[in-house]
């Protein structure tokens, strides 16, 4: 049921300087001619080039690569936040984007009050929210703190709430930007159990991470990205080994 298919997808995004954001300046340029100023106002970054990829249910894809390789851009395309400039993107199944956890949480409201909106933003249905409202307070173990504003929570408590919210709704396709972590030792174990259980019920998982250990443990295949292209896609050990060899033997920048 869940499937992802990218065919020769390219994506670029603009980076605006102050000048590039001004309507007045843009209008004047049109009128006067753009050769007057050396400041282009807008620079385009080619984030993804000719990406082709196919994933089906059961695939857990890890994305590795240096900063700027295009991992986040690819996740955002899969999430439906950005759209390709060229190529086709076909996605089937319910996508839960966990690119930025803590979305929709209002620190002024209580733990209880902070369950519905984050889940609604992720696309949850009413029945799922009802179930979550019962299950989350119990699982997080926050007890009386659920009735207090999130503003007073410790980082660990916030992490527990966000983690519980992230794993509350069933996804056909799960997109993760970095692994879910943080919290005290007892929680980490509890979290791992819940997460593993959650992943078995998810069709496709795409995880972008710099933590190669996690990638090896969780993913069934790994895509190595560099400068907007996929260099290779294969089994985790192979790809990671190739990636490490390439980065370690990279020439240091001359002084």
């Amino acid at each position: 049921m869940a499937s992802i298919k990218l065919d020769d997808v390219s994506f670029s995004y603009p980076v605006f300087g102050i000048v590039g954001r001004s309507l007045k300046v843009s209008v004047m340029r049109q009128a006067v001619g753009a050769s007057l100023s050396t400041d282009p106002g807008v620079v385009y970054v080619n984030a993804l080039r000719n990406i082709s990829l196919e994933l089906k249910a059961g695939d857990r894809l890890g994305l590795i690569g240096n900063n700027g390789a295009g991992k986040s851009s690819l996740l955002r395309l899969l999430a439906g936040l950005a759209h390709p400039d060229a190529g086709t993107l076909e996605i089937e199944g319910r996508v839960v984007p966990l690119i930025d956890r803590g979305i929709g949480i209002n620190p002024e409201l209580t733990g209880h009050a902070n369950i519905e909106l984050p889940l609604r933003l992720l696309g949850a249905k009413t029945a799922e929210i009802r179930a979550a409202k019962e299950e989350i307070p119990e699982w997080t173990g926050l007890g009386p703190y659920m009735n207090m504003p999130v503003r007073i929570y410790s980082d660990g408590m916030k992490a527990r709430l966000m983690f519980a919210l992230s794993t509350a709704i069933k996804a056909d396709i799960l997109l993760l930007d970095e692994w879910i972590g943080a919290g005290d030792a007892a929680f980490v174990e509890q979290a791992e159990t819940r997460l593993k259980d959650y992943l078995t019920r998810t069709g496709i998982v795409v995880l972008a991470s710099h933590n190669l250990d996690i990638i090896t443990r969780v993913c069934t295949k790994v895509a190595w990205m560099e400068a907007g292209r996929i260099v290779s896609v294969s089994a985790p050990e192979q790809t990671i080994a190739a990636y490490l060899t390439a980065t370690r033997s990279a020439e240091p920048v001359p002084a």
Partner: protein, 258 residues
């Protein structure tokens, strides 16, 4: 995924804008005792103060003038807030728009919801104030909800045009704000058209006058004129068409413009 499913999300994902809008309102008044009435009371104080002073400047009857001023401000604040906030609708939701897909129409509805709630609070305070100066509503008041519905829809479709424009060009909100300040003075809000010395064409060619009239006139005891409806409904139709085109052109670019 298309323009129509985006607009349809206003209905299918109504809880998202309803919850976000409620949060916006509660955040504005958190830890205050009287809550949203805070803004309404300061509006009431301003209308009272201006009413007392300007009725003397215009040599008008205090009761007539104050009810005029109250009703004018009540509707003007809704109109100008919808336009100013409509510009910012995408920018204020930047963190959500970077993480989860959230169609622009849903954000427009959020803005309308919070402005509508504030409008209701303002109505209560302004009505009490006007009543103290002899105002009594008539049957014509029943026209007001229709006018209000048209105004809200105008705000909705105008937002779908303004929000992407302001997101891409960050000086536009300022330009819009300045224009609204000028509109405030050339539209009958503080001054009554019946005071005669202004060329009536200036009033009738001003679309904002008609937008105010479809809600204000019923409040003050007269149904809106045919011309009021013609102008506002034409505006609504035009905005609907233009907004669908703009939405179609810009919806894929919202993320990269953030």
């Amino acid at each position: 995924m298309s323009v129509f499913s985006d607009v349809g999300a206003t209905f299918t994902r109504w809880r998202v804008w309803f919850l976000l809008g409620n949060q916006d309102i509660s955040l504005r008044y958190r830890r205050s005792i009287i809550g949203p009435f805070w803004i309404s009371l300061s509006l009431g104080a301003m209308v009272l103060g201006m009413g007392l002073l300007y009725s003397q400047i215009f040599t008008a009857d205090i009761g007539t003038y104050l009810t005029w001023l109250g009703a004018s401000f009540l509707v003007w604040i809704l109109v100008s807030s919808m336009i100013n906030e409509g510009c910012a609708v995408a920018m204020e939701a930047e963190s959500q728009l970077r993480s989860v897909p959230l169609p622009l129409p849903v954000l427009a509805a959020r803005m309308l919801h919070r402005n509508f709630v504030i409008f209701l609070h303002n109505t209560i305070v302004i009505t009490v104030l006007m009543a103290m100066f002899g105002y009594r509503p008539g049957m014509e008041l029943l026209y007001a909800p229709a006018g209000l519905a048209v105004l809200l829809m105008i705000g909705y479709f105008a937002t779908l045009i303004l929000a992407p424009l302001c997101l891409r060009f960050r000086d536009v909100p300022q330009i819009i704000g300045n224009m609204l300040q000028i509109v405030f003075f050339i539209t009958p809000i503080i001054w009554m058209p019946s005071q005669g010395r202004v060329n009536p064409l200036i009033i009738q060619f001003n679309p904002f006058h008609h937008m105010l009239e479809i809600v204000r006139a019923p409040i003050l005891g007269a149904p809106p004129t045919e011309l009021n409806w013609i102008v506002t409904l034409s505006m609504l139709g035009g905005l609907m068409l233009i907004s669908m085109v703009v939405l179609g052109l810009t919806r894929r670019r919202i993320f990269v413009w953030l």
